[in-house]
Symmetry: C2
Subunit: 321 residues, 2 copies
């Protein structure tokens, strides 16, 4: 009997143009293709002659169990997810089911994960460049996650000025979570923070709406929608949402020359070494510094206490002493 195989395939947005060569080859190689009915439809023309198992949205564990059954029969199974198979995708539940069944990587069933662009990547590509700085992905689905866990993440991401991609923002039944998310964000971010609402990216029913944080709940939002909330520097210009990387912190925007006190290719003067030097030289208490920099007082205290050496060189304050 041939060795079975489970291939966890990330389709990317679902248009064939954005399939990777490996994702396409994995589907071609598969005896059986298993997935949520909407994803099966995206690759329908690649499935001739294959067993196709369509599942509904909530049957993730069933999809994994059926994959394991087929693989035990020596079949090659492509278990497909839109976006990336690892991001809220089938990779997690599949390993949970496999481990529970006593599977190990050196057993007769091989597992391969084939990465793809996740919804945050593809939606971002359609609206401009919102992810040029640090970002979070947060799912608003409380089918498996307690609400306080989700709310804490929303609050933390909003407070720390991350760009945020909301996955599963709303369904027929779950209509209130996006309102709560908005409330948590508005406590930290400006009402006019740019928001992009992207539905069915790169698919025939694609729809892009630009809005602002205070209006986002009025948009048409559903289970095929990703909501991208900008950080405090994100702007929309000419229909493009852009989060600056921070070049303006170092370079004069007009001439391209380096700002006073900054060096091309080096950390900012407010980077780690410069910042440590400044807080040590300030003479302020850890409490005052913690408050000013919105950082834990323990962290500031440790930074003040330990760091006589930064990056292998004495800090300036030490060298002068």
């Amino acid at each position: 009997m041939t060795k079975g195989k489970i291939m966890l395939v990330g389709l990317g947005p679902g248009s064939h143009d954005h399939l990777t060569a490996r994702a396409r080859a994995a589907i071609a190689e598969a005896d059986t293709v298993i997935g949520y009915v909407t994803y099966i439809r995206l690759v329908a023309d690649l499935l001739a002659g294959k067993e196709v198992v369509k599942k509904s949205m909530t049957e993730e564990l069933d999809r994994a169990i059926e994959s394991l059954e087929r693989a035990r029969q020596g079949k090659k199974v492509a278990l497909i997810s839109s976006g990336d198979a690892g991001v809220y995708g089938m990779a997690g539940p599949t390993f949970e089911v496999l481990f529970q069944a006593g599977w190990t990587p050196d057993s007769d069933i091989e597992v391969e994960i084939i990465p793809g662009a996740s919804a945050l990547n593809t939606c971002a590509a359609l609206v401009g460049a919102p992810l040029t700085h640090d970002f979070c992905a947060i799912s608003l689905s409380d089918l498996l996650t307690p609400w306080p866990v989700i709310a804490r993440r929303l609050d933390a991401a909003a407070a720390a000025d991350f760009v945020v991609a909301l996955y599963n923002p709303k369904s027929g039944r779950r209509t209130r979570q996006i309102v709560e998310a908005q409330r948590l964000f508005l406590a930290h971010r400006r009402a006019d923070t740019p928001v992009a609402v992207v539905k069915s990216a790169y698919r025939p029913k694609q729809r892009i709406e630009f809005t602002t944080l205070d209006r986002m709940v009025e948009c048409d939002i559903g289970m095929l929608t990703t909501v991208l909330i900008g950080n405090s520097n994100t702007f929309v210009r000419d229909g493009l949402m852009v989060t600056p990387r921070g070049y303006a912190n170092k370079y004069d925007v007009e001439g391209g020359t380096t700002r006073a006190g900054e060096q091309a290719g080096r950390s900012l003067s407010t980077g780690l070494a410069g910042w440590l030097e400044t807080i040590r030289a300030s003479g302020e208490s850890a409490e005052a510094l913690a408050h000013r920099h919105r950082l834990p007082v323990d962290y500031i205290a440790a930074a003040l206490a330990d760091g006589n050496v930064v990056d292998g060189e004495p800090a300036a304050g030490e060298a002068l002493a």
Copy 2:
């Protein structure tokens, strides 16, 4: 003169297997290919007959400026990034340069962004399923970002139990940032939190190391490394790093039946509606609830005050009144 075009191409990890069809076509279509020398090398065999402009790592703005110059001459330019062109990639700086030059989307130069799997997706695919729950990407580079901004994000992500992907964790010069990141994380996470250190994913020099939060700075970490830090539920088993999605919150692991009080396909009993019901029925003060749930007191107060209606139905407390 033909209309110029700038294509911002995300290569994914860089192996041809993981190129999307569109990324490959964009390179084929280009007159000029511009990129960091390491990325150019990844696609060297696709570049015959093209003008190739290699740039060093810090010359992002130069890459964008040269792309604009070529596009103004009517050329098609592929500006390549590894991973996704939008994630710490060239999409942001390019729009910054284009806007500054007075470009608009209806000008003679077309811009297309071609998404790809980012390092967090590809590194995750190699280590198991670490991104099955909410995650953040944080760059430790302080070349353009002040350290307190980075530190606040590390602290917030650690406190709110996100899985975290650290980009640009360390360079020849920047060796201390990863140590500070570890310190910030250890204030919130267990010392034995699983960490994966992935270098050159899907490339010939690929190297994967599993470690724990308290040991991660001992690993071989450089500019081609992504560091994945698990959340409080992430585990490593048989050489695979997995973050559970939360099925165990709803289903009995053995029998697959639904736990008491839970319904398949519905929000958890601790989901938004159930949680609101519980806090309203508790009779506790907003302050006490805020402390218990580690959420802002204003948020709790608003939830207690406004919510007579949840998801279009009276909350249970109301219905009984």
